[in-house]
């Protein structure tokens, strides 16, 4: 099955700036796709469309569900999204409660709290369970946000620059954690390591359109891909 189908998607921001023009992209279930491209090429804008937060012209289907107003909850249910300015992603005043909103509804409050602590432990953040997310360092913030998203166990992950601000050890840890998961992923990134260690495919974005889609082995042998990664 295709996890994501996008056809002829175009979008311009309110100020008239064309951010996406005729995007076509199909991702199979279980694939992990690195979305690469220069600054301002439209990667974040594309992720926001998949999540239904922006509404450009075109066709989008996520996990077999077509984009339409009545389907938006179902689509969001299958997606976990890590935004780029990550500090706005937190809703609750402390970390444990922030993860609790991602846990299944049928659990009791106490069970949720304990499960949240388990998730924090996975990311070495258990000592911050009662701290405010805004008091964390930027790398810790990224990890905490990621924990909050993974706790919901969505079928499709949209990750906008997941490794920014992470130290070497945390970056490798998170890559390992993500690579053990079976979810479909679309990862906007500038990092070579994401392509090497995590991605199965690479999509190249330029001036608001997808200009190439390769499997990772092919991609890493191409000059145009290598030039976009650090």
């Amino acid at each position: 099955m295709d996890a994501l189908v996008i056809k002829n998607l175009s979008y311009s921001y309110l100020d008239g700036k064309i951010a996406l023009s005729n995007v076509n992209l199909t991702i199979q279930e279980g694939h992990r796709v690195a979305l690469i491209g220069e600054n301002g090429s439209g990667k974040s804008t594309l992720l926001l469309h998949i999540n239904g937060l922006l509404d450009g012209q075109g066709f989008i289907e996520v996990m077999g569900i077509r984009r339409a107003k009545k389907n938006i909850k179902a689509i969001r249910h299958s997606i976990g999204c890590l935004f780029n300015p990550v500090e706005y992603q937190f809703i609750m005043p402390d970390l444990a409660h922030d993860i609790m909103i991602s846990l299944p509804e049928h659990l009791s409050d106490k069970e949720k709290y304990n499960a949240a602590l388990q998730w924090l432990k996975k990311f070495n953040l258990e000592q911050y369970a009662t701290s405010s997310p805004l008091e964390l360092s930027s790398g810790e913030m990224k990890k905490a946000a990621l924990a909050g998203i993974l706790a919901r166990e969505p079928a499709f992950l949209l990750l906008d620059e997941p490794l920014n601000n992470l130290d070497r050890a945390s970056a490798f840890e998170i890559l390992k954690l993500l690579s053990l998961m079976t979810q479909t992923m679309l990862i906007a990134t500038h990092r070579c390591i994401v392509a090497e260690k995590l991605a199965t495919h690479v999509a190249v974005m330029k001036n608001g359109s997808i200009t190439g889609y390769y499997n990772v082995k092919k991609a890493l042998s191409l000059k145009e891909v290598k030039e976009l990664l650090i």
Partner: protein, 222 residues
Amino acid sequence: MHIAKLAAFFLLLFHTLIPAQNLQLYVVVSIFLTLIMIYSGGMPSTALFFKNIPMFFFAAVFFVFMFFPGMTLSADKFLTLFKIILIFNISLAASSWLGRGGFLFCLKFISVQRLKLFLLLLSRSLASFERNVRAAAVGVQLRIELTGKQKLLVPKYYVRNLIMKELYSFQHSQAALASRLYDHNVTIYARNGFAVKDLLSVCVMASAAFADIFIQTANIKI
């Protein structure tokens, strides 16, 4: 403990709102109790100063209007100013005194999801605004050497940027709500901590506020 703290907080609020018969006692008790709350809440004095900046503006505006021709100066008006500043500081102090645990505990009793979310976002944006103000203050000091008149440039550019940034951040918060909370409810598991320090401050505050309310309303002369 959260309930006791909340009760003491409301008693103190009530105390500041009553008409004062014995002015000196009223002022002393109010300030004393607010200070107890501030110091047992553990708010550093620099934080207190920064959070009080809006109040300085407010008081300045108040004075400008007070000395307008045609306005009469009266003790009453100063008392009102005092009360406003006091209530602001009590709420401030209460936020750190009750802590995140207390805040969550209060939220637990609100059954309307929308109201809960509103309060959450409000506290969130206040926290991030304060954080940004501090970051901007550091940023300004790093980027320009402030001498005399140049200080006026700061409000001109940075305050505007700061406000724009906050407005822009609502968009992000909205996106977060949409993508993380599409049909879930906020659940709260409030831990009920207990500390001797808290118990003491609650007792002192409640009894002093109560005694003063009694003295003020019964109009006992001391």
